[in-house]
């Protein structure tokens, strides 16, 4: 589904991302982990054509993302709060996104009604603008908006951050269902190794822009990741 080839991104000669080759097949739930500055958000921004690659390219369903816009109808994303329109209510925002994705109000209502549990009664029908919601509730609205219009590719940057424990667990279930039952390709990034190993079939570790690990998730994966990140920490401490 998503094929990355010889992709680099550098700012003033400083390379922040360098991926030789990466293939994400359709229906895979794909997790990206790495410390700050590893290049996770950069990769997602490149995938969404928000920044221009220095070299190489990403193809999304055979479409080169920085040459054509035809990937947009089947791709959706929630990167951060800047994806929300603060002066709309959550419902209006959902309808707006629905309009852009060719869904009428009834379609959108049908979708959002499935997430009543997830919203925990704090989003729909509250007559509040998105800008007045808490960070966590904003995130919930943004994530659900990314599910509108049956996208085939969903990109979520740090979906678990800022959410309360109950919502985190519900979100994990939602993401698993999407990948398993509906064949949606899901790309998420996270700092929470436990969540990401729970949700993703495959985990790629980025370090300073390079892919250093590419793991198929198994019961041993969490341990391996913990050792990887802890090991790095120890060597850093020794150096100091």
């Amino acid at each position: 589904m998503i094929y990355t080839k010889e992709l680099t991104k550098s700012y003033n000669g400083n390379t922040v991302l360098n991926i030789e080759e990466l293939t994400i097949p359709k229906g895979q739930s794909f997790g990206l982990v790495g410390n700050n500055g590893a290049g996770k958000t950069t990769y997602f921004s490149l995938l969404l054509d928000l920044i221009k690659p220095s070299t190489g390219r990403i193809t999304n369903n055979e479409i080169v993302v920085d040459e054509s816009e035809d990937w947009k109808p089947f791709t959706s994303a929630f990167i951060d709060e800047s994806f929300l329109i603060g002066y709309l209510t959550p419902e209006e925002y959902f309808y707006f996104i629905g309009d852009l994705r060719g869904q009428n109000k009834a379609d959108v209502d049908a979708l959002t009604s499935q997430f009543e549990d997830f919203f925990n009664g704090e989003i729909i029908g509250k007559k509040k603008y998105l800008r007045d919601l808490s960070k966590g509730n904003q995130k919930k609205a943004g994530i659900v908006a990314a599910l509108i219009g049956n996208p085939e590719v969903i990109v979520l940057d740090e979906p678990f951050a800022n959410l309360d424990p109950t919502t985190q667990i519900r979100l994990k279930q939602i993401l698993k269902d999407l990948a398993e039952k509906q064949g949606v390709t899901i790309l998420i990034s996270s700092h929470d190794l436990m969540h990401v190993t729970d949700v993703c079939e495959r985990i790629v570790v980025l370090e300073k822009g390079d892919v250093v690990k590419d793991l198929k998730t198994s019961p041993a994966t969490l341990k391996e990741l913990e050792v990887h990140f802890a090991g790095r920490l120890e060597t850093v401490e020794e150096e100091e």
């Binding site: 969404l48 947009k72 329109i85 603060g86 707006f96 007559k127 007045d132």
Partner: protein, 492 residues
């Protein structure tokens, strides 16, 4: 502490992406400032001989003081629209060991160094020197000079008080108009002769230096009042966290008739109505509509035919100029999202275009009563409206692709009441002056009808080429896409 603040200010100014990319605008501002300085200097040196010539039998010093009232009123008006309280991002400072009062004192102190406060000095000081040279008692003139300087500062702080109150109300111009209108009415209907009262006060102080304590007391009071207002706002929950407002839902189903751009039109209308800053551009329309009343009732202006299109462009295009120049920055806070969505740029821009055209049409219809002052005015307004639709709207959209300054709708900078400054008005000038020049030339060479015809033809050409122009403009936006996303994701 002050040193740190100054350091922060310096960095904020020179590191903003806005400054670096708008060098030309900054240079223009500097030239404008120089221009005004020269004008004021000339006024300062030239006023005394002029007054002696015009009012030979009166003491020029008394005459000048008679005009002080009008100066105060005009200065207050100008400042309200052009000057804003210096913005400082206070959120990061609140948790640091800095006294709240220090922050407020700094912001207020900084405002005292505004260009608006220095400008009058360029007239006041030379005029005082001329007075002394003319044989006036120097201690008296000096007292008078210091009184004026303190009045300048009083106006400075009074303006912020008015702005603070206008930020509270929906009709943001109401407090200013109430204050200035009352003062002017008192004077104009000779209920209280404000102009001679104020004039006498100035002369009284000049003769009795001890009375200078009165303006100083007023100044202290104004400063203290500002201090109180601002200090009260220096809490996160007071100004940074916006009030939770009940949503008013309006039925915007009528936009459906615009077809595929309906979602964007609905979004734009909500944008305008639900954010203070955009809402003020709606209220500015009222001011714009009344703008003609400053000119047309007076015989002198009614004879200046070439000024009609200028006023016409202003009256019918005020929303276009005000709203249009921040396209697409209005959407800057969620620009990333728009760019990753399944939208056609052309639809997005067309929605803005339609909105501007509708506003021009509406303003033209509302301005029809000006026909009372002559059919030529109506004709000129019509031509101006066509020109606005055909030419200025496209220019605005095109210019928008150079827009690199983010507008933060969600979180208002702590002390930013209006969010608009002198720059905004300067950008609008060429849009109004160019058609005026074209018209004036044709009017002078051929005649009134020819001038009107040229403006209409220019507008119609723009309308005919609309599809083509939009294509070009859309391409510009596409080319600037990454740069815009990058600039809009930066703060300041």
């Amino acid at each position: 502490m002050i040193k740190h603040f100054l350091n922060l200010e310096w960095k904020q100014y020179f590191r903003s992406s806005y400054w670096q990319k708008n060098l030309a605008l900054n240079i223009l501002l500097v030239f404008l400032a120089l221009y005004f300085i020269v004008i004021f200097l000339a006024l300062g040196f030239g006023l005394l001989p002029i007054l002696k010539k015009v009012y030979p039998e009166q003491d020029p010093f008394v005459v000048v003081n008679g005009f002080m009232f009008f100066w105060i009123i005009v200065d207050l008006m100008m400042r309200f629209f052009l000057q804003k309280l210096p913005v400082m991002s206070v959120k990061p400072l609140l948790t640091l060991p800095i006294k709240r009062s220090t922050v407020v004192h700094f912001v207020l102190g900084k405002s005292a160094f505004s260009f608006f406060n220095f400008l009058p000095l360029f007239a006041i000081i030379p005029f005082s020197i001329m007075l002394i040279a003319d044989g006036k008692d120097s201690s008296m003139v000096l007292t008078w000079m210091f009184t004026l300087i303190s009045v300048v500062l009083i106006i400075n702080f009074l303006n912020f008080i008015i702005e603070a109150f206008s930020a509270e109300t929906e009709l943001s111009f109401l407090p200013l108009i109430a204050v200035v209108g009352t003062l002017y009415a008192l004077d104009a209907f000779s209920i209280v002769s404000m102009s001679s009262l104020i004039g006498d006060a100035f002369i009284g102080i000049a003769n009795n230096p001890i009375l200078i304590l009165a303006p100083l007391a007023i100044l202290l009071f104004c400063y203290g009042f500002n201090f109180k207002i601002l200090k009260g706002k220096l809490f996160l929950d007071a100004s940074l966290k916006s009030k939770v407002t009940e949503v008013k839902v309006a039925d915007l189903a009528w936009t459906k008739r615009f077809g595929d751009i309906a979602p964007f039109m609905q979004l734009d209308l909500k944008l305008i109505w639900r954010n203070k800053r955009t809402k003020s551009s709606v209220f500015i329309m009222v001011i714009g509509l009344l703008y003609g009343l400053f000119f047309y009732p007076q015989e002198i202006y009614r004879d200046l035919v070439w000024i009609y299109p200028f006023i016409g462009i202003f009256v019918t295009g005020i929303f276009l100029i005000n709203f249009g120049q921040f396209i697409p920055a209005w959407d800057s806070s969620y620009y990333k999202m728009l760019m990753s969505q399944n939208i056609k740029y052309e639809q997005y821009l067309r929605s803005k275009f339609i909105l501007m055209v509708l506003s021009v049409a509406l303003m033209f219809i509302l301005s029809i009563p000006y026909v009372y002052f002559g059919w030529k005015i109506l004709l000129a307004h019509f031509a101006a409206a066509i020109y606005n639709i055909g030419v200025n709207s496209h220019v605005m959209l095109y210019g928008g692709s150079f827009n690199r300054k983010k507008i933060d709708l969600n979180q208002r900078a702590a002390f930013n009441y209006q969010g608009t400054g002198a720059v905004q008005w300067i950008i609008g000038l060429p849009l109004m002056i160019l058609p005026m020049l074209i018209f004036a030339l044709a009017n002078w060479l051929v005649g009134f009808e020819a001038g009107i015809a040229i403006l209409i033809v220019a507008g119609v050409v723009g309308i005919v080429l609309h599809k083509k122009l939009m294509k070009q403009i859309t391409q510009r936006y596409l080319n600037a896409k990454y740069k815009m996303i990058d600039a809009f994701s930066q703060d300041n």
